[in-house]
Symmetry: C2
Subunit: 199 residues, 2 copies
């Protein structure tokens, strides 16, 4: 086998990930057999698993990318962009997350690993976004930045489930308004400074 | 086989449901085989499937009960009681929902059936609770009662996923405050009537 140039390596890496994503979305996690992965990616199992040691690692690599993309979007454009992205993601792909989720349930090691798939710098930037919002009084600071992050996680997971299963969640604009109302400082409206400058 | 009295029938029905719930929570939906259902319920397959024609029907009967219980709780005690109930439900049981969800994805008939498992009167009472809250200005009325219901569905599903997979969602008190803030009329705080009596 001829040695691949760096550009070819990168191209191949992308091709494997893109094909695997299509394959998972189409057949589900369990249904994405090695034969189907080969067909959808257009490479032999040897070539595929030379890059990713297992199907699980392939899926985690895809989830890591999704996670990074969402965190960057959040840090750069805020909560509404994040919600919109989730309402636009492919339901078939979201369903793969639910299916994969079962593996996390009984496997504490995998769950710890899953928690840390978000790149550290992207996580820090998102957290920074929340804290900056709290300082600037765009976001409430009577609830910790961690809890605000967790609440956004609940909302996004809820949207993902409903879309994965084929139910209607509210339109993005409605979700934006409700999320804004949930997270703005309690002392806004007519007299923004009236109630509490958050001692 | 001797005929069962009405009381015995009712007792048996309850016993089958309670045992099936334990079995599903313990082994998952797929893992709850007929043999395991027999063991956990303590009745033969003949006796079990005399009442419920299939495993799927057994699960739907359990989900129907859960749904009714939550809707009644909501109609009687409101949103915070509903959120608390979800944060207290057995994660192993919630995980069965995620597993069952996959079946809904590709099956429009089952999905329609699933949507209608909530008893009509319980649904009407919940909807009535939202509409009464809007009239009384406890809940915002610039978002439709349907969308408020769907938003609550998103929140509850998000909590369910995170618990099913073993992640920390925010404490119930935090979720209560955020849900209250999301759903109260926009024109509250210092000057309740100032902004808009919702033209």
């Amino acid at each position: 086998m001829p040695r691949l140039t760096e550009a070819q390596k990168s191209e191949r890496h992308e091709r494997i990930l893109a094909g695997a994503r299509r394959c998972f979305a189409r057949y589900g996690y369990e249904g994405a057999t090695v034969v189907r992965l080969e067909e959808e990616i257009g490479l032999s199992r040897g070539a595929i698993f030379n890059w990713f040691p297992s199907k699980q690692e392939l899926f985690i690599a895809l989830a890591t990318r999704d996670n990074e993309r969402l965190l960057v979007l959040f840090a750069e454009e805020g909560i509404e962009a994040l919600i919109t992205a989730m309402t636009e993601d492919d339901p078939d792909w979201l369903a793969v997350y639910l299916e994969f989720g079962r593996r996390l349930k009984g496997d504490a090691d995998l769950r710890e690993r899953w928690k840390s798939i978000a790149p550290v710098d992207a996580r820090q930037r998102s957290r920074g976004w929340i804290e900056a919002g709290q300082k600037a009084k765009r976001l409430r600071d009577d609830i910790s930045a961690d809890d605000i992050g967790r609440f956004l996680g609940v909302l996004l997971d809820g949207i993902a489930v409903q879309r994965a299963l084929g139910f209607d969640s509210p339109a993005p604009e409605v979700l934006h308004r409700l999320a804004r109302a949930a997270l703005r400082p309690p002392s806004r409206s007519g007299n923004p400074q009236k109630r509490s400058p958050a001692a």
